[in-house]
Subunit: 380 residues, 3 copies
């Protein structure tokens, strides 16, 4: 391979803000669980034909993560697994989290069984910030007596104090098509009463989902929305971000962060141009596309203004993914920007500046994070 060029060199070492991520595993897992964690969409145990190591993410893991465990690049799956199984999960997490070169993790704490914000900060030696799941707040609010709206507001106010943003997974609970307006107070209490009567566990009631979404909007902190790629419980075609048009037209000035977006990343870019408060990323999909990530990153740089694009990994579970997201993004972005510069379509200075904006500047500004970079390990 030729020398990577000035963009690759710069992008390889600049600290990133991972603006949408979950915790990593705390305890060791078996190989089956590890392989299942490489499949995002399938909610059942995967079959022999799904072979998670024979996928783009599987090949990418062997390429990028093997050296962090002291193995050669492209180490075979069995070799990789054997080496990984020798270490405690905390050691694995230490290695990959620190190698990611991430200065700030913006953590969605809505998924169970993984490191929390504090542990992620400690293990990585970086800053970590919380994003609240609005649906989790709803599921707590319904357990209280009295007014549901009051309970929701109380919990939200309390938890939001230290949070940098909120998140809705309404994409998973019916999708974006249909009414997304703020419901009337009486409708909210009615819906809450019905939900309580059936035992109020997992929130699927549309009225209460809409209520939570608008409470998140009113909070004024960046509001993350799951869009596109996810597991098969969601109807992927109902998570097309264009179905958010009516909602966005009345969403005011609260930043709305469209997450993942695959395969609707061009539609999401359109929305980022159309609405001053809309931002996009292509996290999660970067990890799953592996060798194809550069083309996805390139497509995310079409209509979206460059101050509206952010980096995220959406890693969850194996700490490899916290690192892999960063590596694939660094290499993919550098390749795309270098092509722009090589064809003289962009100036080099502009390319470096845009890389900084997407890598950390935009997230720092939108989430109001301090510039205090606490990287304890050198980024690779």
């Amino acid at each position: 391979m030729a020398s990577p060029g000035p963009i690759a060199e710069h992008v390889a070492t600049m600290p990133l803000i991972d603006h949408h991520v979950h915790g990593c595993w705390i305890d060791s897992v078996d190989r089956t669980r590890f392989e299942n964690a490489l499949n995002e969409a399938n909610t059942e145990p995967v079959s022999a034909d799904d072979a998670p190591f024979d996928t783009q993410i599987g090949f990418a893991l062997r390429r990028w993560c093997a050296p962090i465990l002291g193995l050669p690049v492209h180490a075979p799956a069995d070799v990789y697994w054997a080496r990984r199984a020798e270490s405690a999960e905390v050691d694995i997490a230490h290695r990959f989290l620190r190698a990611a070169g991430v200065s700030d993790w913006v953590v969605d704490t809505g998924l169970p069984g993984v490191a929390d914000v504090d542990l992620l900060a400690r293990w990585s030696g970086s800053a970590a910030h919380e994003v609240l799941r609005l649906e989790s707040i709803a599921e707590d609010a319904v357990t209280r007596g009295g007014s549901y709206a009051d309970a929701f507001d109380e919990i939200l106010a309390e938890r939001a104090r230290d949070a940098v943003g909120a998140k809705s997974i309404i994409a998973y609970r019916g999708g974006f098509d249909g009414d997304l307006t703020d419901p009337e107070p009486a409708q909210v209490e009615d819906a809450a009463r019905r939900w309580r009567e059936v035992g109020g566990t997992r929130l699927t009631d549309r009225t209460l989902l809409r209520f939570g979404l608008h409470r998140g909007l009113r909070l004024g902190k960046p509001l993350q929305l799951h869009v596109g790629l996810g597991d098969r419980d969601a109807d992927l075609h109902r998570t097309n971000p264009l179905l958010l048009l009516d909602f966005l037209r009345t969403s005011g000035t609260t930043p709305v962060m469209l997450l993942h977006c695959y395969p609707f990343e061009r539609e999401a870019g359109y929305l980022a141009q159309a609405f001053s408060n809309v931002y996009v990323d292509v996290g999660l999909a970067v990890n799953h596309l592996g060798a194809r990530a550069p083309e996805l990153i390139a497509r995310s740089l079409e209509l979206a203004p460059f101050r509206k694009v952010l980096y995220s990994s959406d890693a969850y579970g194996p700490a490899e993914l916290h690192y892999l997201g960063a590596q694939l993004w660094r290499h993919g972005l550098a390749k795309v920007l270098q092509r722009f510069v090589d064809s003289d379509a962009w100036a080099l200075d502009d390319a470096l500046r845009v890389a900084e904006l997407i890598g950390s500047g935009n997230a720092r500004r939108v989430y109001g994070l301090t510039g205090d970079v606490r990287l304890t390990a050198s980024a690779r």
Copy 2:
């Protein structure tokens, strides 16, 4: 950079027909208005984060337009603006329009505040032809007494005499989903009566939109349809050209020109293969994609037969866009075709012939333009 190769050399200088364009500004504007003109989708004043100079179109403008104003390529935004502000709009228009190397402008006169067909021809030193907006004819017809259909037909017949085509923006007035059949005469007069009663200004009535669409079809001249990318007033997902299938199945032989099409350019290409009277372009989006335009142009060369693809800029306002559309398209097309030839998938002669067809031959044939090229400035 290496030598551009024979395709780039040919494509760089061949005269183009810009088959869908608007007028350029007549009077000077301030910087805010200029920057807003670089954002297609946002209908409100753009914010700091939208930074129109920090977008693909902004970078492309600095790359391609700066030299026309005597500045180095990639001149900074402030430098560019300062230089531009030194000249009268007529001088700017002169430079960019003539540098575009366009022999014929096919002008949609439905947008206000810009040069009309005659002025565009005079300033550019090229031919200019009119395309009628069917919705504008409707908005005139409703102000007359008597039969709405008769008034519409009368105005259409009169204005169509010198026009080379008609255009509908039904995409912006409800989109393509739902009934697109020709309404009954009684329904038309009923709808017109209701529209008159409420003061008949902006046409949004579905019946009258359908009526106008079919009158346009019956006219027999190329019927342009706005498709895909546009401002956020349209529901982008309702402008998917596949929603036109039923309409196209009964559209006869009138050429139907699908404009812009992003992000549905592959769907549009399918329709161009499926229907003998369907043509496509990816105008507007080429300007907004800047360094990513080659990939868009490549996608427009999948299913569409090569005699069904046309060039347009869809420029409106800054004369830079009339030039930029041409430059980005010339460079993008040349890059794509050179790749085809370099991999021996296409013969060089075929590539040059297809470039001519898309650049001017198809438009000349379909719109019935004469071959009388009146270029007064050398194309660059």
Copy 3:
């Protein structure tokens, strides 16, 4: 051109399994019919502007097929046609079928006027296997007296004995949106009675289409579904495979083979990750995209696990297409994989292994074909 590299060399000669194909012509055709066969989507005679030789598939035919007829690459259309017209169809078929390097044809026998399974095997010197059209079985069942379901089951059981799979074209008979559940027995007999009363020819009744689909599923052999690209009789947007989500959620373990998929190949790849029994190909579109086929093949290698992707040509009519599909796929795949290896994203051994899986291994395993390769001509 540089040396093609080790992947191209390997992929150029490995035997393929074409897991979805139709027969080739038996008798000579005139030029009009030949050119119409190069247009998939248009169901009417094509116009001058459709010029099938001025398309990606037309250019690809001249590039790849001309040498098989002893002409130089890129021979002009007239020269190509003149040479082709000199030979009997059987001789043309012999040449192209054998040059394709296909060890096994998996043949959908639902289209008329072409070679059947036995003839295709004889002319090609390769193995050929049948796939049953469920709609054809329905159209036979309705002609019998008594219970429609019993008649259907009887015919299916009889014909399925020697078949390796079943296929549904419900995409063409209403599309995927709406109810796709298994209907009640009484509903089936009611629908069959109504169909018999109107003279039972072409099946369009939704209830009976659903019935056939579920009978196909219950058969347990791979169930092929037409998805995406096809002729304009289908509503392309109603063939988006995401509309199959509810059906797939209850489809059990029968392999479901999503065919063609263009322009929804990324959505299809998602489903292949989400469901252990879903497989994808991008056949038909590879031929029609010609020089753009590599990008399509690359997009098919995003989310789909590599053991879930298959090769097909979907050739029908001109034997050129049986060969062209293979050539374009071999060259496109090799180019894509070589890029992955050149950027060190993939190891060379992995690339070769994945090529084998997609080229034949996956089809052999899923359809249960023997490994007995009967290639009588060297693959090119």
